[in-house]
């Protein structure tokens, strides 16, 4: 554990506002640096899992359940086994013999690897075929004959706890219902008290529908068990390679030092690639059984139907306020649909993730939430798609409730927000559900967004259009994120504390390698972590190799999700670089024959205080540290350090978003005309990369608000199992984003940086929904606001909650 007691750096923001391209392209440190990853990707020389070919490699395919809920009466694999190219057919029974038919989930529940007793969602894994090529494996799964006895499914979470609801998890000892957990936060008595004395109480139920992160690259793995030395190498689409290694060791009984997990280039993760899927386990078993490497790569419909979904929160929210628009309290009851197995990825103590940040950016007197999780006959998941552990749901709830309140009071939604924002002087601010926000200047951020979009003029334009019968809407969202899990005392995943290791080695010639425990899936870590070390040590970033994703070559840590890389691992990189800098000072003292205390650091060199000509560069120091220089007693040669960073707290980035939409009154079709986003993530390592992160997240927001849903029919058939139905925005559905930022550093982070990656996905859906509802003059309608649903709302009808 490393204590960080250095004061936070006041950042020098290299550029402001929309000023672009003024900075040097290759800064030594922070700035708008082009990506080190790009040269290989633009040449088609990335190396993703499906690009991997190993000698003798076989191919696996999964047979999946056509039913949402059915007992398995028999599985006949004889025809598949007779296929000339088939090498192995693995069923639940095969796995049961190995003790692997069930695996633990990240929520301490269990999940079937291959079904033994019954199937519990459509698309569930039933059997695994290993064959000489991909086509043969797919042919052979068609030859497996499974006899099912269909059972009534539980599709709608609202009916999951009804006494007559079929029990989905009858595999669990003594289980007689579909209840998963109850969890609460806040002070219910205090909240009741403020609601009792409020002038206005607005209630609104809302569903954050089930959606899917749908990374363009699906999940897959290549498992290679070396039958001679007993070492398993697993290339897989994992966002958390070290955690996966530990889990495989625990589950499969293979010693941890005999497991190497490699995450190669990953074609997007978005939280989809945090957990362990049955396909990975099947590939491993397939390799053990056949003695040859086995590749498993799912197709899109398998990805959409069986891997981690996101959201699916039914929220009954209430907001209390004075007649003058002072928000007093918020309370909410949530029904959380977790699917058939509770595999939700979040820190152990938080079954509803960080949903209790739902008080948002407002100074509220009291708040309370109750969350009840239930099983349904759907795929497992919940935490994914840039949610920061349920912050998407929390932000959507509060930002919708504030708009509902504005509607009730006849107040301007921007003014209502401005009036209730936590003031800058209140930070660090303790909210009423247990979070201590680190820093913020919310009013300045909101003002900036309103100025940039021309808020007052837009309202004028809107009223003119309304007079002509045209539907235009302006929607706002002001959000506070909580990212960077987390302090190991409070946060662990399956007992693994959420701290991250980092190792830095400076070679004799002054080039360096930094080894991370986090795993990029496109967020640019190979560039930005080099920039962090460059900023701290003055070694040019192109001279710094960033190694990640290989458990044999990198220190232990929890991986990349929850926008935790910069807050935790980024901090670790700075701390380890400072350790190297301290060591370099001692070496420089020996080189210059002065006491280390007489040396001053300027980026890239230690020089004698008062005599800058007497100096040693970090490169010279590196060579000396490996050479014949006599070092002081107790100081070892070489120039390297390691650390484990245990964050003292979370970081709390925030942002103000404004969306402008036009709605066609004849068709209900929504056009997003403008989207302004002002984000504040503290110190900015690489503004270019931050902007790209925000652009991507804003597109997610438009997708979720207007197009995306994983829907089901009453039999539990998944209605969105392909890109024909699961609609993602193309270049034609999104506007040219307009971005700006403010800089409010995190006081506890070594260089003042907060996470950012998920902010836009978290913050943008309510802005879009608020804009559409503002346009059509309806208090609430659930996402996705597709043309048919908007049209329905325009007719004044109740817009049915999607299922």
């Amino acid at each position: 554990m490393t204590a960080v007691d250095e004061p936070p750096v006041t950042p020098q923001e290299p550029e402001q506002g929309q000023g672009r391209g003024q900075e040097p392209e290759r800064p030594i440190g922070f700035g708008r640096m082009k990506r080190k990853e790009d040269p290989r990707f633009v040449r088609g020389r990335g190396r993703y899992v499906d690009d991997i070919q190993l000698p003798g490699m076989l191919h696996g395919a999964v047979l999946r359940s056509p039913f949402a809920h059915a007992r398995i009466l028999s599985v006949d694999t004889s025809a598949a086994e007779a296929h000339p190219k088939v090498k192995a057919v693995i069923t639940g029974e095969t796995l049961a013999g190995l003790g692997l038919a069930w695996m633990p989930t990240l929520s301490m529940d269990t999940q079937a690897v291959l079904a033994t007793d019954k199937v519990r969602f459509q698309g569930q894994e039933v059997a695994f075929v290993v064959a000489e090529d991909h086509y043969a494996a797919r042919d052979a799964i068609e030859l497996i004959d499974v006899e099912y006895e269909p059972l009534d499914p539980v599709v709608n979470a609202r009916h999951a706890l009804a006494p007559e609801a079929p029990v989905i998890r009858d595999d669990l000892e003594g289980r007689t219902d579909n209840h998963v957990f109850d969890w609460e936060a806040g002070d219910s008595a205090a909240t009741e008290e403020v609601f009792a004395r409020a002038d206005v109480v607005v209630e609104q139920t809302m569903l954050y529908p089930r959606v899917h992160p749908a990374p363009l690259e699906t999940c897959g793995a290549v498992a290679a068990m070396d039958p001679v030395d007993g070492k398993l190498t697993l290339y897989s689409t994992t966002q958390a390679p070290h955690a996966h290694r530990t889990l495989y060791a625990m589950v499969a009984g293979i010693p941890e030092h005999k497991i190497r997990v490699v995450a190669p280039d990953i074609g997007g993760g978005f939280g989809n690639k945090v957990g362990i899927y049955p396909g990975y386990v099947c590939a491993i078993v397939g390799s053990i059984v056949t003695g040859r490497p086995v590749k498993w790569m799912e197709d899109r419909s398998e990805n959409l139907m069986s891997t981690s979904f996101a959201r699916d929160y039914h929220m009954a929210g209430e907001i209390a306020a004075t007649r003058e628009g002072r928000i007093l309290g918020v309370r909410v009851k949530v029904l959380a649909d977790h699917g058939a197995f509770n595999s939700t990825a979040q820190p152990t103590k938080y079954p509803a993730g960080f949903f209790h940040i739902f008080t948002g950016s407002y100074d509220i007197e009291a708040a309370h939430c109750e969350v009840t999780g239930v099983y349904t006959n759907k795929a497992p998941g919940g935490v994914a798609y840039a949610c920061s552990f349920r912050v998407t749901e929390a932000v959507y709830l509060i930002e919708r409730l504030v708009d509902c309140l504005a509607d009730e009071l006849g107040a301007d939604p921007a003014e209502l927000r401005m009036r209730n924002l936590v003031r800058p002087e209140q930070f660090p601010y303790e909210n009423k559900t247990g979070w201590t926000y680190d820093s913020g200047d919310y009013p300045a951020c909101l003002r900036k967004a309103m100025d940039l979009v021309g808020y007052e003029e837009l309202r004028k334009e809107q009223s003119e259009k309304r007079a002509r019968g045209e539907l235009m809407g302006v929607g706002l969202s002001f959000f506070t994120e909580t990212v960077g899990a987390g302090p190991r005392k409070h946060m662990d995943i399956l007992g693994l504390g959420m701290a991250d290791g980092c190792e830095l080695r400076v070679h004799p010639t002054g080039k360096a390698v930094v080894r991370l425990s986090v795993q990029t899936q496109g967020q640019g870590h190979e560039t930005t972590f080099a920039q962090i070390v460059a900023e701290e040590l003055g070694i040019p970033p192109e001279d710094i190799d960033v190694v990640h994703g290989d458990t044999d070559r990198t220190p232990f840590g929890l991986g990349t999700y929850g926008s935790r890389s910069t807050p935790v691992s980024g901090a670790a990189a700075a701390v380890v670089a400072r350790k190297v800098r301290d060591k370099a000072r001692i070496v420089a003292g020996a080189m210059l024959e002065v006491a280390p205390d007489d040396l001053a650091w300027t980026k890239g060199r230690w020089s004698v205080e008062g005599d800058p000509s007497m100096a040693a560069t970090i490169q010279e120091i590196a060579l000396a540290a490996h050479g014949s220089l006599e070092l002081p007693d107790g100081v070892e040669g070489h120039l390297e350090a390691t650390t484990v960073y245990n964050p003292p707290s979370m970081t709390y980035p925030f942002g103000a978003y404004v969306c402008v939409v036009d709605v066609d009154p004849g068709t209900g079709s929504v056009k997003v005309r403008r989207f302004v986003a002002v984000d504040d993530c503290g110190t900015r390592i690489n503004p270019m990369i931050i902007e790209g992160q925000v652009h991507g997240g804003l597109a997610d927001g438009i997708g979720m608000a207007l197009m995306e849903i994983i829907g089901f029919d009453e039999d539990g058939n998944c209605l969105s199992g392909s890109f024909m139905d699961y609609l993602l925005p193309t270049a034609l559905e999104v506007p040219a984003w307009e971005l700006d930022h403010t800089v409010t550093p995190s006081p506890h982070h070594p260089f003042g940086a907060k996470g950012i990656g998920e902010s836009a996905t978290v913050g943008s859906p309510p802005a879009v929904v608020n804009a559409v509802l503002d346009a059509i003059g309806v208090r609430h309608a659930d996402m996705p606001l597709t043309p048919s649903r908007v049209w329905q709302a325009l007719q004044g009808g109740e817009v049915e909650a999607p299922q």
Binding site: D38, Y48, I689, H695, A699, T730, A731
Partner: protein
């Protein structure tokens, strides 16, 4: 069936099943793994390659249908160390993150600039609307292709200034085609 396909200017002959998809032929048989596969319904466009200069989704073309045709993949965009302007544009304008959609996006951009060297933003958005990107929110992809268009126009400028506007456009097109057609 025995087929011969001109891939990146080289005749490649293989024995394939009739049901074999072009994307698998390129990736599995020829080891050209820059072409990706992101869906199974022909929506995502990560598998886009150029067939006789036109973008096609190679998951929706049988390898046998490509016999006798010219296929061009991302591996052929650069001329040795010299990147195609589209490739350089994606780097300059941060038009990629995870890189999975990038090969297909760049080839769509290449095909667009070959027929329209000065596209509007809307024309670019339409040209890539058969392709999904999950990381970038598209704006920087549009900027990347615009960057490439400007770069090409600059490269063609000395000739263009000496001729009439119509000829200038023709020259730019020809240059673009030549740059795009190098193998």
């Amino acid at each position: 069936m025995r087929i011969t396909v001109d891939v990146n200017g080289e005749d490649r002959t293989r024995e394939v099943e009739p049901r074999h998809l072009l994307v698998r032929f390129l990736r599995d048989d020829l080891g050209l793994t820059g072409t990706h596969w992101g869906c199974d319904t022909s929506n995502c466009g990560t598998c886009v390659v150029l067939m006789d200069g036109e973008p096609v989704k190679s998951c929706t073309v049988l390898a046998v249908m490509a016999a006798g045709h010219e296929i061009r993949t991302v591996e052929d965009l650069a001329d040795g160390d010299r990147l195609d302007p589209v490739q350089q544009g994606f780097i300059e304008q941060h038009g990629l993150q995870c890189g999975f959609c990038t090969p297909g996006m760049m080839l769509a951009g290449r095909a667009l600039l070959d027929r329209n060297p000065d596209p509007s933003d809307q024309e670019i958005r339409e040209a890539i609307s058969g392709q999904l990107c999950r990381c970038t929110g598209y704006l920087n992809i549009v900027k990347s292709i615009q960057w490439a268009a400007r770069e090409q126009a600059t490269a063609a400028a000395p000739e263009a200034t000496a001729t009439a506007t119509a000829t200038a456009t023709a020259t730019a097109t020809a240059t673009a085609t030549a740059a795009g057609g190098q193998t």
